[in-house]
């Protein structure tokens, strides 16, 4: 047992930001993730797609310990994800997450939402945190909303604030859990544009989404999951033009059909 642990620990190298090895997860008796093996290199952009209930969101939520895995290993930046709180905190500082329902803090202004993490987790002084937050808000093109409350913004603006909020922590990896699923078409574009710009800065991104156009533009790899397993993984052109698996073909025909 110790041997295989040692083998796993040394096989990770500096370039592999996320290494998931033989990971399984159960909700009670329900086997929700089966034998997940995934390596994400620094700077890679990965899109995960699949039907509902396939475990895509669960998988990426395991990466920052919002869900616990029962078997297998997950390494984030060479730190193993276990029950050790210190390691979990260290990992969470390096992993930013953008949620489907934004999850902004409604009682704080947009600026305070963005500076909360740096001030309280990274101990950044307030002035510095404010400056950095304004810079990121400018990058997502909503600096004028800084003193408003989330309740006063549209959905697309809120999601962009959520992206800026995660970026303010200077993470090494950004996880996106269906970021545009709760938005209407006009707003989807503005959020996707922000994500494309972010990808161009070289950020490592792991994105669960149904936006296939985004996958074609930005992704280095597209991963298809169904019923808890990774069925197929390939670079976008190959994936869309030459799907190998039956289930992938079925999924693509449904999602690209209309």
């Amino acid at each position: 047992m110790a041997d295989s642990n040692a083998a796993v620990a040394t096989s990770a190298n500096d370039d592999d930001l996320i290494v998931i090895k033989d990971m399984h997860k159960w909700y009670g008796d329900f086997h929700v993730l089966k034998n997940i093996n995934l390596t994400v290199k620094r700077g890679e952009r990965i899109v995960v797609c699949g039907p509902s209930g396939s475990g895509k969101s669960t998988m990426i939520r395991c990466i920052n310990r919002l869900e616990e895995h029962q078997k297998g290993h997950i390494f984030v930046d060479n730190i193993e994800l276990t029950n050790d709180l210190k390691q979990i905190d260290a990992i969470r500082r390096e992993v930013g997450m953008v949620f489907q329902h934004f999850n902004l803090f409604p009682h704080l202004t947009v600026l305070e939402n963005c500076t909360l993490g740096p001030i309280w987790v990274r101990q950044t002084p307030k002035a510095e945190a404010d400056e950095a937050a304004m810079a990121y808000l400018e990058k997502v093109k909503i600096p004028e909303q800084a003193l408003k409350y989330p309740g006063q913004l549209s959905g697309g603006q809120q999601q962009r604030v959520a992206i800026a909020r995660s970026l303010c922590m200077n993470p090494r990896i950004m996880l996106f859990d269906e970021p545009t699923s709760a938005l209407d078409p006009e707003m989807i574009k503005e959020v996707l544009d922000t994500m494309i710009e972010l990808a161009e800065t070289g950020m490592t991104m792991l994105c669960v989404t149904h936006e296939m156009g985004f996958a074609k533009t930005v992704a280095d790899r597209v991963i298809f999951m169904d019923e808890g397993e990774i069925i197929e993984a390939n670079e976008p052109n190959e994936f869309f033009d030459n799907p190998q698996h039956e289930r992938t073909k079925l999924f693509l025909s449904q999602i690209l059909g209309h």
């Binding site: 919002l66 905190d89 969470r92 930013g96 934004f102 999850n103 009682h107 987790v121 409350y149 309740g151």
Partner: protein, 371 residues
């Protein structure tokens, strides 16, 4: 008479005032008092009831009232209305209880300081808020020193506390200390640590299962059996502890309801940022949970303040106790209306004040996120 209708090209229509009958007081009357036959009839009945009730009440309470007299017979001779002279005569003792006369300035001073200490807590636009808050934190000790004496001031025993002052001391102490304790209990009940959780649950369920009177009796009679022999525990202190624990259990449940209303996404967003437990509670979860719980919390506080009259049962004379013993006085025999109305007025001012403050607080905290 037809109105001039003018057509405008799209995009050029000017802003115009609404027609008369659709704005102002006439509109309010039409919508609220006379909008349907049922409403109109109820309005007329209401006006009639006011006509029947208000004038006699006003003449009893104000126009025929007697303000200066020295006993009941004199009062009745001077006027047929309320005998407020009785309240004037008894006012000092109703407010201060049996506090020594020459030391009453200490009670006044501690009350003024209470108002001062509340300002930075209740209003966050107060100037120089941070240093002022430190005074508020130190206030309980300052007030304790002023009221009880010792270290430079003549000591006053707690058996000399009484009247409105006693209600205020018990109420304010109960409110101030039960809120943080209640929050801790609510968090404890939600905890994953089995010992913390079971202690919180047992405490809350036990306290909520017995009436406050029972706890006060326990405080006054039975507590001696549980403590090592020879320890004497001031009665008022025991009452304060019991009242605080009692209120804390109710606050805990109110806050728990507020905590349950916070969407899971808030906990997840806080966790994914790397915030630790107490940080996420203090910065994100509790501000939202407490805002939702304000009506329930203020409700509990108002109930608590009124429950302070129960100390009567264990022999402490609060404002109600003194009022009732005053009624038994030979000179003023039987003037119950005046006494009860005055006491009710005292409670009403305090409770209505709390209620109004809570509405102000909710308005201030409403950042427009009820989507």
């Amino acid at each position: 008479m037809s109105e001039v209708t003018q057509t405008y090209t799209p995009g050029t229509h000017p802003d115009m005032p609404p027609p008369p009958g659709q704005r102002g007081i006439v509109l309010w009357l039409r919508k609220n008092l006379f909008s349907s036959w049922a409403n109109t009839i109820m309005t007329l009945i209401g006006i009639y009831l006011l006509y029947k009730i208000l004038p006699p009440m006003l003449s009893w309470a104000v126009f025929d009232a007697v303000m200066n007299a020295s006993n009941r017979e004199e009062c009745q001779a001077l006027g047929s209305g309320a005998c407020w002279a009785f309240i004037k005569d008894r006012f000092i003792i109703l407010v201060y209880g049996f506090y020594p006369e020459e030391l009453r300035w200490r009670v006044d001073l501690s009350f003024l300081l209470l108002c001062a200490a509340l300002v930075p807590i209740l209003f966050d636009k107060a100037p120089m808020r941070k240093p002022w808050m430190m005074f508020s934190v130190a206030y309980p000790f300052i007030a304790g020193w002023l009221l009880l004496g010792g270290a430079g001031l003549t000591p006053v025993g707690t058996d000399e506390f009484g009247g409105m002052m006693l209600n205020t001391v018990v109420g304010v102490t109960g409110i101030a200390f039960s809120l943080p304790l209640g929050i801790l209990l609510a968090l404890g009940r939600q905890s994953h640590l089995p010992i913390v959780k079971s202690i919180s649950v047992c405490f809350i369920e036990f306290i909520r299962g017995v009436p406050l009177i029972t706890l006060l009796f326990v405080a006054s009679t039975m507590l001696n059996y549980f403590l090592p022999p020879g320890t004497t525990f001031d009665l008022l202190l025991r009452v304060l502890i019991m009242v605080t624990l009692f209120s804390a259990a109710y606050i805990a449940e109110v806050v728990r309801g507020g905590l349950q209303a916070i969407p899971n996404g808030q906990y997840e967003a806080a966790n994914s940022m790397g915030l630790k437990y107490w940080q996420s509670m203090r910065l994100i979860i509790l501000p939202q949970a407490l805002k939702i719980s304000i009506p329930g919390i203020v409700n509990t506080f108002i109930g608590l303040f009124k429950d302070t009259t129960l100390v009567l049962i264990i022999g402490l004379l609060d404002v109600l106790g003194i009022g009732r013993s005053s009624m038994a006085d030979a000179q003023w025999n039987g003037l119950s209306n005046e006494v009860y109305i005055s006491i009710a007025l005292f409670f009403f001012i305090a409770c209505f004040g709390m209620s109004r403050y809570s509405i102000y607080l909710e308005g201030k905290l409403d950042k427009g996120y009820k989507r």
